[in-house]
Subunit: 130 residues, 2 copies
């Protein structure tokens, strides 16, 4: 069966046809999912993401945003022409990583002592208090 | 609040107290979760994991098993004294990565054209045909 022409078609099968392995070829590092987390949290601009607690270095952030865009997980929109500045948004494919981010954060909260509650859990709290 | 004394207590907070970031400090690479996948699939021995389709290199596999053991996600048991050989098993903390492995594999199957169905989905099929 011919493979569909999507950005991800060109990036997969580096190691095997296992969906876990192919996914890790894209998101399997210490930084990519933190960028995705920040975009889920509503951060849009390079400088906003760079200010997160983990202090991602500019060259790593530029690389990860560029890879995410190439893979079709992120789109960027020009919001200033001089100097050229972009806002970054998750695509539907990128937003589909929600359950991945959530599952990893829940595992960390459960097993790594002292980690703070995940963002999506802290957001629930004000609802409860209404 | 003092942090509980568990293997993971010593490995966390490298970058922030975010449970996603702390988890990625442990599982955020291209190989660790493939080793976890193989252990879920019932592989026990170094040579069995090394034979998986991705052909992980021996030095990388030894390093990942050693890190997983240090973090309390894997235990090893001697099964041969001469030469010394070990079998590897997921601990409860390691098995709790099931939803993570599953979420990533489902994302990959959905978005990366041509990937095969995840192992846990293929296992369901014979049940249906009974």
């Amino acid at each position: 069966m011919p493979r569909k022409k999507t950005p991800l078609a060109d990036m997969s099968f580096l190691r095997s046809d296992c969906p876990l392995a192919c996914s890790l070829d894209i998101i399997g590092d210490k930084w990519t999912l933190l960028v995705v987390r920040d975009l889920f949290a509503g951060k849009r601009r390079f400088s906003e993401i760079a200010e997160s607690a983990e202090r991602i270095k500019s060259n790593i952030l530029a690389d990860r945003l560029s890879r995410l865009e190439a893979a079709g997980l992120v789109t960027r929109r020009l919001y200033s022409e001089r100097p050229p500045r972009y806002e970054y948004h998750l695509t539907e494919t990128g937003r589909d990583l929600g359950p991945v981010v959530k599952a990893i954060a829940l595992w960390g909260k459960k097993h790594i002592p002292g980690t703070r509650p995940p963002l999506f859990e802290r957001r629930k709290t004000p609802e409860k208090n209404k």
